[in-house]
Symmetry: C2
Subunit: 345 residues, 2 copies
C-alpha cells in the first residue's frame, strides 16, 4: 500500500519548499516557468494526488454541494439531480445527494449533517411534512447559500426555481374543455404544499374562465399514488353523474384511474378523458398513452444549479443579494387519453 505523496514529498524531491510546490500547482504567477514544469513533472512521477480535505480546511471551502430531495428514485427528482450534477461537475464541484423521505426529522438531521460536512451550499426540495424552516434558517445565518427547487416555500428568503404549476393545470383543464369535456374532476393531495395548491387553483380558475361551475364532489384527495388514484376513481364512479374527464395532479393517480376505467370497460377518452402531471416515463407506454404536463426536470436542474452558482460567486464578491423566483413554463404533452375530437395524435 503506497503511502500517499504530499506536496512536501515533491518539495524535498526537488529541494524546494512546500510553498513553492503549492504555488506551482496552483499556477501562481510568481513561480518561474522552469520550477513549475519541474514540479508538474515530479508530481506526475511521484503519483501525487492532491488532498482536497486539507485544502478545504485551509480555504474554508469544500467544493461540495449538498442536494436534498424527498426521494432519488422518482424520475422527476433523479432527472433534476442529473441536471444539477452536470453543471456542478463542469464547475469543479461534486454533489452529495441526500434523501429526506419526506420525513421532517430526517430532513433536519440531513441539513445538519451537510453543514458539518462543510458543504459550500445546499440545493433542496423540501419535504411534504415540513412546515417549520428553522433548520434552513440556521444555515442562512451562517452564510451558507441555499436554493430551493420545485417544492419551495415563501417562508425562506432564498432563491427558488419552480414550474408554473398553476399554468400547467390551467392549460391541462383548458385542453380538456376544448376536447368537449364539461364535468372535469381533479385528483389532489390532502397535504397542501404549494405545488398542489397551485394545481388546484389552476383547475378552478380554468373552470371558471370557461364558464363551468365548480363542483366540490369532483375534487378528490388521496396520496396520489397508484392505489390512491384507484380509490379516487372508485369514489367518482359512485356519484350520480359520472365525470367526463379527470385532471390528476400526478401521473400515478391518473394511472390508477386508467386501470379502474379499463376494468369497468369505460372508454378512454370517449367516456372519460384523462390528464396526469409530471410526464413520468411510463406515460408514453400506457394504452391509451397518457396526456400529461411535462415539468422540464433536466432544465430545472440546470437552471437551479446555475442560479445557485451565480449566488455562490456573488457571495464571494460581496454583491448584495436579492432573492428571486425563477418560474419555468411547463409543457402540456397531448396524447391519446384526452384526444376525443379526432384521430390526430
Amino acid at each position: 500500500m503506497a503511502t500517499k505523496t504530499t506536496i512536501h514529498d515533491i518539495a524535498s524531491f526537488l529541494n524546494v519548499t512546500a510553498s513553492t510546490v503549492s504555488r506551482a500547482l496552483n499556477n501562481n504567477p510568481r513561480i518561474s516557468e522552469n520550477t513549475r514544469k519541474a514540479v508538474l513533472k515530479a508530481a506526475k512521477q511521484l503519483n501525487y494526488q492532491p488532498n482536497n480535505i486539507a485544502a478545504a480546511l485551509r480555504n474554508g471551502k469544500s467544493n461540495l454541494i449538498g442536494v436534498i430531495v424527498p426521494t432519488a428514485d422518482r424520475a422527476f427528482f433523479s432527472s433534476v439531480v442529473r441536471g444539477i450534477e452536470e453543471i456542478a461537475n463542469r464547475l469543479g464541484y461534486k454533489i452529495i445527494i441526500c434523501q429526506s423521505y419526506d420525513d421532517y426529522s430526517k430532513e433536519i438531521q440531513t441539513v445538519e449533517a451537510l453543514a458539518n460536512a462543510r458543504v459550500d451550499g445546499i440545493i433542496a426540495s423540501i419535504g411534504k411534512e415540513t412546515v417549520n424552516f428553522d433548520h434552513y434558517n440556521d444555515l442562512l445565518k451562517k452564510g451558507i447559500p441555499i436554493v430551493l427547487f420545485d417544492r419551495t416555500t415563501d417562508q425562506l428568503a432564498v432563491n427558488q426555481v419552480m414550474i408554473d404549476d398553476y399554468q400547467g393545470a390551467y392549460d391541462a383543464v383548458s385542453h380538456l374543455v376544448d376536447e368537449g369535456c364539461q364535468r372535469i374532476a381533479h385528483f389532489t393531495s390532502p397535504v397542501k404544499i404549494s405545488i398542489y395548491k397551485e394545481r388546484l387553483r389552476g383547475y378552478t380558475d380554468a373552470l371558471k374562465d370557461h364558464g363551468i361551475p365548480f363542483d366540490d364532489n369532483l375534487v378528490i384527495e388521496s396520496n396520489l399514488q397508484l392505489e390512491g388514484g384507484r380509490q379516487s376513481m372508485l369514489q367518482l364512479l359512485e356519484l350520480n353523474k359520472m365525470p367526463d374527464a379527470i385532471f390528476s395532479a400526478s401521473d400515478y393517480g391518473a394511472m390508477g384511474a386508467m386501470q379502474v376505467l379499463k376494468e369497468k370497460k369505460i372508454k378512454i377518452p370517449q367516456q372519460v378523458a384523462l390528464v396526469g402531471f409530471a410526464n413520468e416515463p411510463f406515460t408514453s407506454f400506457t394504452d391509451p398513452t397518457l396526456t400529461t404536463v411535462d415539468q422540464l426536470s433536466l432544465a430545472m436542474g440546470h437552471v437551479t444549479a446555475e442560479l445557485f452558482f451565480d449566488q455562490l460567486n456573488s457571495l464571494d464578491k460581496q454583491i448584495p443579494q436579492r432573492t428571486q423566483k425563477t418560474v419555468l413554463q411547463p409543457q402540456l404533452i397531448i396524447r391519446q387519453s384526452s384526444l376525443r375530437s379526432s384521430g390526430r395524435v
Copy 2:
C-alpha cells in the same frame, strides 16, 4: 453572519483546553462526568457544529463514500443507490453520487476526483465502455476499498454483488417454453459486458435444455432502448417465419417490440409472447402488462453496502481480505404479455 464556533471557543468559555473539549465530545472515558456535562451544555449554548473537514484531515477518514453509477435517472440504479444510502446513513456515512454516463474518460475523472475528495471507499457499477481498469487498481494500491455491483468485472480483485443474470434469463426462456413457445427470439446488446453475456448464455442454455434448436437469426442486437426494440422487432418481422416469443435483455427493448406488434395488430401473447428484463416501473402499466425479471434493486443496494462496510471494518482490524462474489437470485414476474396457456394472471 455568525462566525462558526470551534472547540477552542467552547474551551475558553469554560476555562479548559481544546483537548478536554474534544475528549468530552467524543466520550473519552478520561473526562470527568461534570466536565463532560459542562462541555455538552456549552456546546449547545454556543451553537457548536463540529467541523468534519478538520476531523477528516486529522483522522484520515472522511466518512464519505463515493458511489459511481452510469446514470442516476434509471429506476434500477436510483433504487440501488437508495438502498446503499439507507445503510450508509445508518452507519454515519454520507454518499457522494457520481454519474459516469457510460463514458470511459468521465469515469476515470470521477474516480480520481473521489480519491482526491478522500472518500473512505467507492461503490461502483462500471461503464459499458470500460475495458481497462487501471484507474480502479490505482485506488486499490492505495488501500481504498472498492465494491462493485451489477456491472462487474473479473479483472478487479474486489468484492462484487450481482444478480444471477444467467438464471434470470434461463427462467424467463423456460417460462416461455412452458407457455408453448417454440421459436423464441432474443434482444441483446452488441456491447458484451457481463450482464448481457450471461443473459445470452441463459437464453441459449434454456433453449438447449428444452430441445429447441438455436437460430442465429433470432438473436438481434441493438442499444436495447425503445427505438432499438422497435428496429429489432421490424427486423424480426421480415423473417420468413416469425418468432412466437421474444425475450429482451431490457424492458425498454421489449416495450419497443410491444409497440410495433400492436401497430401491426399482432396479438400479444397469443401470436408473440414478450418477456423483458429489469422490472422497470412502467412494465406493470403497459397493456398487456409486461412479464419481466426483477433485479431486487433495493436489496442489491443493501447487500452491496453491507458488504462494503464489512470490508471497511475488517480493513481497520487488519483482517486479511478474500474477495467474494455475492449473487442474488432474480425473480421472474409473470404478467399478461407471456401468459398464453390460460386466463390466470
